[in-house]
Symmetry: C2
Subunit: 348 residues, 2 copies
């Protein structure tokens, strides 16, 4: 057992405190990582504030983790000390069910173990990446390719794979037209990835506030949805609509923007039920889908893809004492486009 | 211009009358078909009874048409006099839009011309297959392979392709588990086709009344949904659920029957909106889709597939004077599993 400086929060209304937390003694298949950067995902806030049901406190959040291998167990073969690596939303799964075997560990029948605010198969509570160290089974350690900065790589481990996986599954490619709803942490990655896949990308946002950024990141258009005009102008236009927002949307209007056989895929979780007239799907053979992060092989594929196309997330690096304020700014939509904690600023 | 004996109905409350109707003079690309059999699709009843909005009267319904080529225009190359052929739900489309070019004529941007109760690009009202003859552009004439009886082939032109297309799109194959909701005209074809594709097929029906038939047609199980037990017992079981019924269903329960990444695809049009909690789709990357018949190339593929696997629809052949009564029986769910009109019984 070792300890590492970490940021933890003691209750839903608490603020972050720096202090040492324990890391488990290395098992044969474990990797100890010196965490360099940890992204702040909106879901961290939901969990810290206990907005997603009962949470486990004290909590060390963080599932967008980038760092350097510090130590490996005897049986570890895939990474070695000094390698640049990342950890995302999961740190264990059964490894034996059909989903694990197919590389969809997030759908593990036994239930994948979440990186933090979860309980491992050994009964231990999991701790995330707002820390200077984590210990993770090598099966859930990703290689961050040379050339990708660890700061801009960190958010790829959640925001990157969450948008890459549905874009890949549903066929974003040259000749396809992709809309991305929302230009936040997820949306800005959706734009970069869809553009790198060769698709024509349109951002659909409530306002035109971020229009310049959208174009800079690879979109050809950024359209405001506020006045509803886009739903007339672009009826039947898109092959794929990637919905990254967690607000309730007029789903039928968005389905109307799809071409026949088009796909509206959501990764953001709104409060209310979808209500969709069956004829809108049946008449034009349309598809409404959801998508939950991505499996480990696809996460590696995504990292390699981003490195090949020479981009990571667009980030603002912050210190440990800025995390509480950053949470409020994320909720207010003020981040451009992902806060990443420089974990060297955590004083034990 | 020629005439042909046909069954037509003069108003939504009227009954079928036999009498001559006009067929257009053969154009260069036209095929005149001696219709031998015409299937009765539930949608015929909706249209005749004006349940789907304004209809065009007098109406000669019928879009499940099987017959023999009687005459061809000068430019026709794909079929010749004497060939066994079929016509389905469409008789024209623009031929130039991206959907037509990709073989999805049913999604033609200009609007595909429906086989009956429609208006051709020339302004003429279209007439369907409850007749001894039809004239159709060769682009919409399908070849019925040797060995497939014209009576059992007729329903393939709508019920066959409507179930084949989604099963093919969503990957029914050996190793997959397919549920078919409903054992009617569409459902019984879904069972036969999914089984022939090599999938494990389960019929989900309100009752077990048709259980023996389900197994005979290729299902391994037929389960009643009435008491709701199946929604507990088979949670997370199916890769594909093909929903062929047009009653409102508890969609969330059916989504619960899907495996992660599974697809619930509907071809039956219920009155109310689907209501689905977003988390049910997002958490397990599930898919809700619609499907509308199929394009011409895929319809030919389906006919060849059925011939190769040596099956058509399960039909009851009826005479022209039985059509009114047959409509009532279809509405009451009493047909096993498709009525097919022997058009030789239409007296002019």
């Amino acid at each position: 057992m070792t300890t590492t400086p970490a940021l933890s929060v003691a209750s839903p209304s608490g603020s972050f405190e720096a202090g040492p937390v324990e890391l488990r003694a290395l098992r044969d298949d474990d990797v100890r990582i010196d965490v360099k950067f940890a992204g702040i995902c909106h879901s961290d806030i939901h969990q810290v504030r206990e907005e997603w049901g009962t949470a486990i406190f004290p909590m060390v959040p963080g599932h967008e983790i980038a760092g350097v291998v510090a130590e490996v167990g005897d049986a570890v073969t895939r990474v070695k000390v000094g390698d640049h690596v990342g950890v995302g939303c999961m740190v264990d799964s059964c490894g034996e069910c059909e989903f694990c075997k197919e590389g969809y560990e997030q759908h593990c029948v036994k239930g994948a173990v979440m990186t933090y605010n979860g309980t491992g198969y050994d009964g231990e509570k999991t701790k995330g990446g707002y820390a200077q160290g984590v210990v993770v089974s090598e099966r859930f350690v990703l290689t961050i390719p040379e050339g990708l900065g660890l700061d801009v790589a960190a958010p790829l481990l959640c925001a990157g794979i969450t948008t890459y996986s549905p874009l890949r599954r549903w066929g974003a490619a040259p000749g396809t037209k992709v809309a991305v709803i929302g230009m936040g942490g997820l949306g800005h990655m959706g734009v970069k990835i869809a553009a790198a896949m060769g698709a024509e990308v349109t951002v659909l946002s409530r306002t035109t506030d971020k229009a310049d950024d959208s174009v800079k990141l690879g979109a050809t258009k950024h359209l405001a949805t506020k006045d509803g005009k886009v739903f007339e102008d672009l009826k039947g236009y898109f092959d794929i609509i990637l919905n990254t927002v967690s607000a309730d949307l007029p789903m039928e209007d968005y389905v109307g923007l799809l071409k026949a056989r088009g796909v509206l895929v959501s990764v953001g979780l709104p409060p209310k039920k979808y209500e969709i007239a069956p004829g809108l799907l049946i008449g034009s053979s349309k598809v409404v889908a959801g998508s939950n992060i991505g499996g480990i092989p696809e996460t590696q594929e995504m990292l390699d893809f981003c490195a090949k196309h020479d981009f990571g997330a667009t980030v603002e690096v912050i210190g440990a004492d800025e995390v509480d304020a950053a949470y409020d700014k994320v909720v207010d939509g003020k981040v451009r486009y992902r806060y990443v904690i420089d974990t060297s600023t955590i004083s034990a």
